[in-house]
Every structure is written in structure tokens, then in C-alpha cells.
Amino acid sequence: MSNENPMQMINDFRKRIAKGEDVSDEELKVAIKRLHDFRNQAEASSNTKSKTTAAKKAATPKLTKAEAKGLLEDLL
């Protein structure tokens, strides 16, 4: 539980509550604290995240015209 991000924690709580299980006040307090602190941490790491995303997009393979034509012929 201690290493989970807020999204995982909330979804875990929802599943348990839907099953009729108890979620203790202590667990909720940890989630509330983490949600309170989450945005600051997210903002601090936002630059790194956007660079990673950009790099992934650039690495997407693309078909050349000849490859696309060959693929189409195979399909037909």
C-alpha cells in the first residue's frame, strides 16, 4: 500500500467498499495526505515526463510508400 500512487489507492478502496469491506480511517488519511502532496510532486517532474512522451512519439515506426503498397497487394 505504501508505494501505491493515489490512483491505485483510490481504486483499491472503491473495490473494497463495493464488496462491503472496511477501509480504515488510517488508510484514508494516508491517501488524503498523498493526494494533498501529489500535485506538487507531479509539477516537479512534469518536464521529464513531457520529454519522455516526445521521444516515444518520434520513435513510432512509419511505413514507406513501397512498404504500404506491398502490404496492400498482400491483402488483396
Binding site: 478502496f13 477501509v23 488519511k29 488524503i32
Partner: protein, 332 residues
């Protein structure tokens, strides 16, 4: 003739109680009002915006009641009130399936985003001890989920009793010595357009008019926007005043809209009694949304696929019957 409408449909009657939802729908598009409030059609798939908004509103309300009700052990205990609000959010949002989780997490209104907004609202943005906007206290209890009903000087065409107009808002708030209707609004963007839209909003003028009829003078409305962006939650506040002449004008307009709704209803009722199929009465209600852009406003009209089809009866299996009751909006 085979019944075209979904199972459980109800007699063709004019609504006994109106509210802003019904009258604004009528004023926007007569056909939409026919589908929603005379046939009582409702899309089978509930919008995540509605579900998430309802859960979030319930959580905000539970915090306010817990924190401000002097008879409760959580009175002025922000931590205990937050725990109660948090549990309310989780319970109301619910959990149905793994596929739903995947969908929710990809939207700005996933449960954890709502939880984040709830925490930031009361712990960072509008901290109860310093918030200038406070619930109005009546006998030590906060006036949250305030509702009223007022009679219109118009007879219901079926029962011949006065038409009722019902309003319900998040709370009556005290601010700088005045009383205001208070409403929380979730949104996807804030800015000048968001701020400027409330001065003429019939929903809020109706709140003030209804409260005035009950002897409670409100100065206007306080609207707080809770904005769910992709990577952030932001808040805004708008204070919009209402004068008596505006309330008088609203009453006149609301009565006129009601009379027109009744006139169209009575024409349709006569056609039904003459043998027309109930569903095909839609032809007597103009699709005004196609003229004024309402089909695509907000998240889109739920009846758009009916209006796009030459034979809309083929799509009725995508709808169920749900009678909208202004006095009990949570009843489904």
C-alpha cells in the same frame, strides 16, 4: 399496433412539477422536451460526467454538514469531516467493472481526480476556517441542499391543479452580510466565458424567485467552479446578484414558457386520442436544436441519434424509461 416505446412507459401526461431542467429543455428544443419529459426517454448509458458530478456533489455536501452542524461530533473538525466526505465520494462513485476503471482513469473525471479536487478544495483553496463564504445556519444546522416549491398561476391540463415549480440548490450561503444561493459546478475550463455565463442563468434567477416567494430574500448566487483539467484541478468563484425586477421578469418568462408547453401538449394529446401512435407525436414538436446549435452543446444532446434518423423508432432500444422527478432528482 406494436408498442414502439421501451418497456415501462407511463401514461401521456403533463408533468405535475416543473423545474429549471424541464423549462430550459423546453425553451431550447421542443422535441428534446417531448422525448425527455413527455415520453420520459433516457439513454441507457449513463454519462460519466453525470455520475462523477453527482458523487462529487454528495462528497462536498457531506463535508459541509459534518463540519458545520453544531449537533454532530465532527463540528468544526476538518480532518474528521474530510474522512466522511472521502467515504461518501468512494461509495457514491461506486465500482462496477475493470473496463470501467480503465475508462475512468483515462478521463478527467476519474474517481481519483474527484478525490484530489475534494482534498484541494477544503485543504488548500477554500479552507473552512478562513473561507468568507459560509453556510447559513438555521438553529445550528447548515442550510445545505435547500429546496422550495412554488405554485404557478397556471392549471395543470390533466389534474386542473396549479402547476408547481421546484428548485433545489447546494446551500444558502452567508457572504459579507448577505444571503446567497450557492452552487458548485464542475467544468472542463475556466475563464471569462465561464465567469460571464451566470448573470443571466435562469436556474439561479429561479432559485431567488422561489426563495422570495417563501419569504427568504437572497441577494444573488455564488457559483464555484471546480475545473478538471488533464493534469490539474483549478477553482474559480463568481458572485452574481439578482434584483427584484429580474425575478419578476423570470416569473413572467417561466409562466409563458409553461403556457406554450401546455398548448403543444394539448395538441399532441388530441392527436393521441384521435389514434396517432404516441411515439410519432414527436412530429408535432419542432427539432429546434437543429436551428440553434443545442444538439452539440455541452456533451451533446442524448436524443441526437433519434433526430439524425429518418426512422427514429429503430433506435429506441438504446433508451429506457425514466421519469424525471424534480423533487427527487436522485430517484431512478
Amino acid at each position: 399496433m406494436k408498442d414502439l416505446l421501451p418497456e415501462g412507459h407511463v401514461p401521456f401526461l403533463f408533468p405535475k412539477t416543473l423545474d429549471n431542467t424541464i423549462l430550459s429543455t423546453w425553451s431550447t428544443c421542443k422535441r428534446k422536451a417531448f422525448f425527455a419529459h413527455l415520453l420520459h426517454l433516457h439513454p441507457k448509458n449513463l454519462s460519466i460526467h453525470l455520475k462523477a458530478g453527482a458523487a462529487y456533489a454528495a462528497a462536498l455536501e457531506s463535508f459541509r454538514v459534518s463540519y458545520w452542524d453544531a449537533s454532530l461530533p465532527t463540528f468544526k473538525d476538518a480532518e474528521a469531516s474530510m474522512l466522511i466526505a472521502f467515504r461518501t465520494l468512494l461509495k457514491e462513485y461506486g465500482y462496477e467493472s475493470d473496463s470501467q476503471v480503465e475508462f475512468e482513469d483515462s478521463t478527467n473525471k476519474g474517481c481519483w481526480r474527484m478525490a484530489e479536487a475534494l482534498v484541494r478544495h477544503f485543504q488548500s483553496q477554500f479552507i473552512p476556517t478562513s473561507d468568507a463564504v459560509r453556510p447559513w445556519l438555521v438553529d445550528g444546522k447548515p442550510a445545505v441542499e435547500y429546496s422550495f416549491s412554488m405554485e404557478f398561476p397556471i392549471q395543470n391540463p390533466d389534474t386542473k391543479e396549479p402547476i408547481l415549480y421546484h428548485g433545489r440548490f447546494d446551500m444558502i450561503a452567508e457572504f459579507q452580510g448577505g444571503l446567497f444561493a450557492y452552487d458548485d459546478k464542475t467544468t472542463s475550463q475556466l475563464g471569462v466565458t465561464w465567469m460571464n455565463q451566470w448573470d443571466t442563468r435562469s436556474q439561479f434567477t429561479g432559485y431567488c424567485a422561489g426563495s422570495r416567494q417563501q419569504g427568504l430574500k437572497l441577494d444573488g448566487v455564488i457559483v464555484r467552479g471546480h475545473c478538471f483539467l488533464k493534469g490539474d484541478v483549478k477553482f474559480a468563484e463568481c458572485i452574481s446578484h439578482r434584483k427584484d425586477w429580474q425575478l419578476d421578469e423570470w416569473e413572467g418568462d417561466a409562466h409563458e414558457a409553461t403556457r406554450m408547453f401546455i398548448a403543444y401538449y394539448e395538441r399532441a394529446k388530441a392527436a393521441l386520442e384521435a389514434g396517432e401512435d404516441k411515439f410519432f407525436l414527436y412530429r408535432l414538436f419542432p427539432a429546434e436544436g437543429k436551428f440553434n446549435g443545442a444538439c452539440d452543446s455541452y456533451s451533446g444532446c442524448p436524443f441526437k441519434e433519434l433526430c439524425l434518423a429518418q426512422h427514429p423508432q429503430r433506435y429506441l432500444d438504446r433508451y429506457r424509461i425514466r421519469v424525471w422527478d424534480p423533487t427527487n432528482p436522485g430517484d431512478d
